[in-house]
């Protein structure tokens, strides 16, 4: 099969290796309300700050790094071929994309109706990754269920 829009399978591991740590960092920062620079200090990495320093906005730069890391990781994982990319895998991929599209934009509509002000901006910001992560979750679940059906038959 010719899949011109999919990256080679080897990019999938790279994608997971980038996505998982940045996703964990992003969740910790969001849920615990920790400043990003504090995490790096906790890991023993010194972050220079100060009005004359290039890194005077350390938290902003680290936030950007985490978001870009999550996007790149999710993108690499989402757009990489499976080890065996055949027509069933393509069908599952298409179904997962459509399901993620429906769910994500239903969420956007609900958020628009029920969430306002700064909270709405934050929700829509976090939703940047929503579609990719939804697709990943649904696709992986479909592949797992397919594998389970084969194992159950054995």
């Amino acid at each position: 099969m010719h899949n011109t829009w999919l990256l080679p399978h080897r990019f999938q591991k790279t994608g997971w290796a980038i996505l998982i740590p940045f996703l964990i960092l992003g969740i910790i920062i969001t849920l615990c309300g920790i400043e990003p620079s504090h995490i790096f200090r906790w890991l023993g990495l010194e972050v220079r700050t100060g009005p004359d320093s290039f890194t005077s906005n350390a938290d902003r730069w680290i936030n950007n790094l985490i978001i870009i890391g999550m996007v790149i990781g999710a993108f690499l994982t989402t757009c990489s071929r499976e080890r065996i990319e055949d027509e069933l895998t393509m069908q599952l991929r298409q179904q997962s994309l459509m399901a993620a599209l429906w769910i994500n934009y239903a969420f956007v509509i609900l958020a628009t109706l029920f969430i306002y002000d700064l909270s709405y901006v934050l929700v829509i910001t976090y939703d940047m990754l929503g579609f990719l992560l939804l697709f990943l979750g649904i696709f992986r679940w479909k592949l797992w269920r397919l594998g389970k059906e084969v194992r159950d038959e054995e």
């Binding site: 065996i84 055949d86 027509e87 069933l88 397919l146 059906e149 084969v150 038959e153």
Partner: protein
């Protein structure tokens, strides 16, 4: 659509994995086709039939609901 893939495999003593390798798909795909959960493309159906040395109509049959 129904199929006789399992019967044909048994006649030639071929496993799902061997059939999958022969036609270039995953074992999960062959399993899904056999179970009727996935309708193969024309190319895949022709490849499967050729593996058994049979015609496509022998291996795959339309049902009334199709």
């Amino acid at each position: 659509m129904k199929n006789r893939i399992r019967v044909e495999r048994a006649e030639v003593r071929m496993t799902q994995q061997q059939l999958a390798d022969a036609v270039g798909v995953s074992r999960q795909t062959i399993n899904a086709v056999e179970a009727g959960r996935f309708v193969p493309s024309t190319v895949l159906a022709l490849k499967i039939a050729r593996c058994f040395g049979k015609s496509v109509e022998t291996v795959f049959q339309l049902e009334e609901s199709d």
